[in-house]
């Protein structure tokens, strides 16, 4: 009887030992092996306040695929490479998403979050330093606002504003023979609508037109120097990247607008002085800005305002498409 009791106790202790030592050791061992085994580079995504992308800097070599294991540690994030045609990858919280990148040119690439994960979503960026091979062809041309010497941080009030919303359709219907030099896109993007309006007002071809009709011509010039595809792309880009702060209707009242005005991250000395997002429906400021100025603000970011810098993210075509789209908050499109 005594032997049976002892055996039972021993068996119980053995079972307990297996559970209390074997189970944790097995789990920890599997965890350690999985972490150290040859596996893709693991990148954790967290809202910016908790660290953003970890690690924030990756390294790759031209011609060698970069295998990434992406894990969101908190909320829904997205992963994309700036200025790339590759589609964004969604990262549901806690799910492991494997993706492979390949680079044909060396250089520094920016990866970023594509989902509005929090008030500081746009700060959630990292870089991939790609070495080997040929360097990417550098875009040596300065941004237009720099070559034009535009101070994009200076106020740009509109000295005159239209009484009614200018219409590209009405402007086209006027059939006015505009000077050829004014019909070019280059001309339109370099001058503000007010400057264009003033130029047109002085031109003999508009002598018989009212001020409002000349504004319609300005709208027509905008519409005729862009394209339906560009406006469509711009609309999509705006919805993805801008509407959260600037509002769907461009009035600067997006759902994240209150957070932009809130203090920036504690401990992050960015030097930003957040202010309210720009109101694209405000004639008194928008019509005094040229497309080159707007594109410059998007590209460089509104330093000192909390406006993100999109230069490393958007391609040149995307930047201009977005800029063109912003005028839809001032002008009525032609059908």
């Amino acid at each position: 009887m005594g032997l049976r009791r002892l055996t039972g106790e021993h068996l119980a202790r053995l079972a307990l030992g297996l559970i209390m030592l074997g189970l944790p050791l097995g789990l920890v061992g599997a965890w350690a092996v999985a972490r150290t085994a040859a596996s893709p580079t693991t990148v954790h995504g967290r809202v910016t306040e908790d660290g953003g992308w970890l690690p924030g800097t990756l390294r790759a070599t031209v011609g060698t695929p970069l295998r990434l294991r992406l894990i969101s540690d908190d909320v829904q994030h997205g992963f994309a490479i700036g200025q790339s045609d590759s589609p964004a990858v969604d990262l549901p919280p806690g799910e492991i998403v494997d993706t492979t990148l390949s680079f044909s040119q060396s250089g520094t690439y920016t990866f970023y979050c594509t989902r509005w994960c929090g008030p500081n979503h746009w700060r959630m960026r990292g870089v991939i330093e790609v070495t080997g091979g040929q360097p990417a062809i550098s875009d040596a041309i300065d941004p237009l606002y720099l070559s034009l010497g535009i101070d994009i941080d200076a106020p740009h009030p509109a000295l005159v504003v239209p009484g009614v919303r200018p219409s590209a359709e009405r402007g086209e219907a006027l059939g006015t023979g505009l000077p050829e030099r004014m019909r070019s896109r280059q001309d339109f993007v370099r001058r503000s609508p007010v400057e264009i309006w003033q130029g047109l007002r002085r031109d003999p071809s508009t002598t018989g037109l009212s001020d409002s009709q000349v504004w319609d011509l300005v709208a027509y010039l905008w519409h005729s120097t862009t394209s339906i595809d560009a406006l469509s792309d711009g609309q999509e880009l705006y919805a993805q990247n801008c509407a959260a702060c600037h509002g769907e209707d461009g009035a600067g009242d997006g759902v994240m607008a209150p957070n932009v005005a809130a203090p920036v991250l504690a401990g992050h000395e960015s030097g930003d002085q957040p202010s309210s997002p720009a109101d694209f429906t405000d004639r008194s400021t928008m019509l005094g800005a040229s497309s080159a100025l707007l594109q410059g603000k998007i590209l460089r970011g509104g330093m000192g305002t909390g406006m993100p810098y999109w230069g490393p993210i958007l391609t040149d075509a995307q930047l201009w498409a977005l800029t063109d789209y912003l005028w839809t908050f001032q002008f009525e499109e032609a059908p």
């Binding site: 039972g8 106790e9 119980a12 307990l16 189970l23 920890v28 965890w31 806690g94």
Partner: protein
Amino acid sequence: MMRFDLTRVPIVRAIFVARGPQLALQLGAMSGLILVLVAGLLGTPVGSRNPATVLVWIAWWAALIIVAVPFFGRLWCSVCPLPLPGEWLQRGAMLRPRDTGRGLGLRWPRRLRSMWLQNGAFVLVALFSLPVLTQPRLTALLLAGLVLLSIAISMIFERRSFCRYLCPVGGFIALYSQAAPLELRVRDAQVCAGHTTKTCYTGSATGFGCPWMAFPAGLTSNVACGVCLECLRTCPLDNVAINLRPMGADLLDSSRIRLDEAFKSLLLLGSALVYVFVLQGPSSTLRSSAAAVGTAAWLAYVAAFFLIIAVVLPALFLLAITVGRPGTPGWLSPSQGFRRFAPSLVPLGLAAWAAFSVGFLLTNASYILPALSDPLGLGWNLLGSSGMPWAPIGGSLGAWPLVVILLIGLAWSSRRVRAVAEELGGGVRAAIPVWAFSLLVTSVMIWVFVA
């Protein structure tokens, strides 16, 4: 009152008396605890994907509140893994008694022999519950802390002092186990009176003395009995029974209720109310405040929590009792009334917690299989369910299942209120204000569920 002694069925008695089945369940629960601890500390920090949070706060909590407590009383306490390391160390044995006990074996201080510490522990956990519910690491640290605390208590004090007087969940289970249709009682108290050695309390070669420091012959409710089955093993006179009984049998006698237990009824009802508001209510600001521990918003949440559970609800309940006083000289004092009527709230409180838990389970149950399939967040797919999407269950039913559960609790509580009022000679007049109180609390919760 009708009762059926399950131990009269030989095979059932054999299962209860044998240590193997209970030990197997305990070791199973211990395995679950270890998985939770390792996953909580090493796995993904995403609460909805980690077994620590998913198994504990969705699966275990729902099983406890919806099934275990209402139908099996304190049976969970007999397999709960938290006190087992401490108990086994204290005994120096896992099965039968041996002469290898350790620890100081001090008696728990007389002044602390009440539910007040458990009430405090429950409130303490509740105040931090939102971060704990959502952060696997905090869940693991909380459970590890409770295990270590129970070991320390077991090394200093006798028996299961931790379970009886400190465990934050123990008091919860104790209170609501009174509604269960299962009880451990002696068959004939006279037999116990004549049994001089009282092996059920002192222990014998076949089993340990009651770990819960209860004398089975003195049990009048499930509150003090952890259903560890030791007395069934140590009684040489075959005088211990596991009875099936009508639900809520313990609530029929409210004369024995002490203030700590009475207050517990209000505390848990109020906590359910707060939880429903915070976790299932429409205000994300409230949820954010409850989660932002240490901030001014969280302090406001703490103040509101205390205000509701310690001031508003008790004051309203006292008011209801006072308004209903029949004016007869010598009728109950407010304190007596509080103690006599408070047990009537047990069914409503249990229903409130069950409704809350059913809602929580239906919403979040689809997290369980994916979390188990990849317990450490390493990309495994052990059960083939890692990619299973989140999908709430029973969405088409809306809040009606929860409303029905609440109404059952309200009806049950109202019946008890009427019975207590009649028993005390207060009649319907004494019952109406307490009914109004119960209806008010129920209505608020229904409003949250439906809105």
